[in-house]
């Protein structure tokens, strides 16, 4: 699988409260959540994000609460993938479960860069700067889980 998209850049410790503020958690409708995605950190995000964009961030992306609404909001806003130096663990689990690709990558990416992520070969190519690097593949267990869809469908398969 390959994803090519334009980078929207954030810093370290982007928490779930800014990804989707709790005041909007009285609903779980993806469209409504997407309308408020990132609003407390970047009020322009919801209006400028385009289908296929890639969020690039620093360390500990998605820290804070366990709300699955956070990756749901990001996915519903059209973002194709989140690439960060590291992820908070619950956010990572949730992203896998809802089918939002998340990738750990240590290299620098800039706002607006066009970037290609190749999941099969485990590479990131910055088409704007020509730089690139490797991403580590998902461990076998996680790959199986991702192939099954999510944890529920994975267990359902196992139980058959």
């Amino acid at each position: 699988m390959k994803i090519t998209g334009r980078i929207i850049k954030f810093g370290d410790n982007v928490d779930t409260d800014v990804i989707i503020p709790a005041r909007y958690l009285n609903t779980s409708d993806p469209k409504e959540l997407a309308a408020h995605c990132m609003e407390d950190i970047d009020i322009t995000f919801a209006s400028r994000v385009q289908k296929g964009d890639i969020i690039a961030a620093g360390a500990n992306f998605g820290c804070g609460s366990s709300r699955e609404h956070a990756p749901i909001a990001i996915k519903a806003s059209g973002v194709a993938c989140v690439i960060a130096k590291s992820f908070a663990r619950i956010f990572f689990r949730n992203s896998v479960n809802i089918g939002l690709p998340v990738v750990e990558f240590d290299g620098e990416l800039n706002e607006g860069d066009s970037v290609e992520i190749d999941f099969t070969n485990g590479t990131v190519k910055n088409l704007t700067t020509g730089e690139g690097g490797n991403i580590s593949p998902y461990p076998e267990f996680l790959s199986k889980l991702i192939d099954s869809g999510n944890l529920l469908t994975h267990f359902a398969k196992e139980n058959k």
Partner: protein
């Protein structure tokens, strides 16, 4: 190589002799938890996957605590989804308004968690039950749904940081100050994916409530779980709460830790986390004159009886500073009732505080005390992220009940000594 306490619990629930850090396992669950924000999504996923039964109707706890009593129509619809689900599958531990409390205070109080249990909850502060010697961790809604349907989940076995506690807390220092000090030192991702295992002779000087507060905020250092060894204090708490049989696991002598950090409890001082990260901690003397508009005492971090007893010790016979709104939110109905019976509620009302029914309310910026632009709040809660309690330009300062109460009296962030 030996195992940490956490690894032993995970191994036992995975049916394995031994597990290693980094290994992926499937393990059986003793309890699956969700609230009114996360459960509706879980219920939706549960139905979507075509599930038609739960693994055990006694091992699921659904607590309607975040936007309840229902904040608005949308919140009411969310709760109703969960209420209908609980009714349909005869979920024994469904807690609605009138008997609900903030989940992580409620579950231990009701005796639903014991030592050695493996608990997942669709709430990040599920790590609280480590205080009882259980492995408990936060997950998302789909994981919760899978847990409800199949009674199991997957885990990447964590490695651990050991916190070797020595000494005893001094006057005005609490479990909250211990964990804020630790997070200030290691940072909000200082324990990412790891266990925080507390050990050492200092443990025995910490009350069970101090331990709940400390484990509650393990997630604020990025940890998968926080955990305390089981001792007489744990066992006597468990005896008074429920009749689940505790199983005691202890770390092996030769367990390996990524790091050992010494914490001298006698050196802990009242500590405040400034906006907008729990790691942005300061001690008194490192700041001055921070004027406040609101104080919140409550939450799964510090909403237990002892927290209110500490706050009342400071506020008794005094008045809240003019212009400051003070919200007292007991975490459970039992705590509320105990406060009424012992006279704490009267102390707070006479001081000029508002006392509320149990709810998460302002802790997550849900309702019941939202901040306007530019306003500042001292809260005994656990997060001070941007917009956590209201307007994105409002500010939350995290502190202990002592500091929160003292600040309520002076109208600025204050050391208890200032008013006592």
């Amino acid at each position: 190589m030996g195992m940490t306490m956490t690894q032993k619990i995970l191994a036992a629930h995975a049916g394995k002799e031994c597990v290693k850090g980094g290994e992926y396992i499937e393990a059986k669950l003793d309890l699956v938890l969700g609230n009114d924000v996360t459960s509706p999504v879980a219920v939706k996923e549960f139905y979507k996957a075509g599930c038609d039964c739960v693994f055990n109707k006694e091992k699921i706890a659904l607590v309607m605590d975040h936007f309840t009593p229902n904040k608005d129509i949308k919140a009411a619809e969310q709760t109703k989804t969960v209420r209908d689900f609980a009714g349909k599958y005869k979920i024994k531990n469904y807690f609605d308004v009138g008997e609900m409390g903030v989940e992580h205070a409620l579950l231990p109080e009701k005796g639903l968690v014991t030592a050695g249990d493996l608990v997942i909850g669709a709430d990040s502060h599920t790590c609280t039950y480590g205080a009882l010697g259980a492995f408990s961790t936060g997950v998302g809604s789909t994981d919760m749904a899978a847990g409800m349907a199949y009674g199991k989940s997957w885990f990447k076995v964590p490695t651990a940081i050991k916190f070797n506690l020595t000494g005893k807390l001094g006057k005005w220092a609490t479990g909250k100050d211990v964990i804020l000090t630790i997070i200030g030192k290691i940072g909000v991702d200082g324990a990412l994916y790891k266990s925080m295992e507390f050990a050492g002779e200092g443990v025995k000087s910490l009350s069970i409530d101090d331990r709940f507060t400390i484990c509650n905020m393990a997630i604020e250092a990025g940890a998968k779980n926080g955990i305390f060894p089981v001792d007489d204090i744990t066992l006597s708490y468990l005896k008074e709460h429920g009749d689940k049989e505790p199983k005691i696991y202890a770390a092996d002598e030769d367990a390996e830790y990524d790091e050992v950090i010494d914490v001298d409890l006698s050196k802990i001082e009242p500590t405040v986390a400034f906006p907008h990260l729990p790691s942005n901690t300061k001690r008194f003397g490192e700041f001055e004159g921070v004027k406040i508009d609101q104080v919140v005492i409550g939450s799964c971090t510090n909403g237990r009886y002892s927290d209110f007893a500490q706050a009342a010790e400071i506020m008794k016979g005094k008045k809240v500073a003019p212009g400051v709104r003070v919200l007292i939110i007991p975490a459970t109905q039992k705590i509320y009732l105990d406060m009424i019976e012992s006279g704490l509620t009267k102390i707070f009302i006479e001081a000029g505080c508002a006392v509320s029914t149990p709810t998460c309310g302002p802790c997550l910026g849900g309702h019941m005390g939202i901040l306007a632009k530019g306003e500042r709040c001292v809260a005994t809660t656990n997060r001070n992220f941007v917009g956590r309690m209201g307007h994105p330009e409002s500010e939350v300062y995290l502190a202990s009940p002592y500091v929160a109460a003292a600040s309520a009296i002076t109208g600025r962030i204050s050391h208890p000594d200032e008013v006592m």
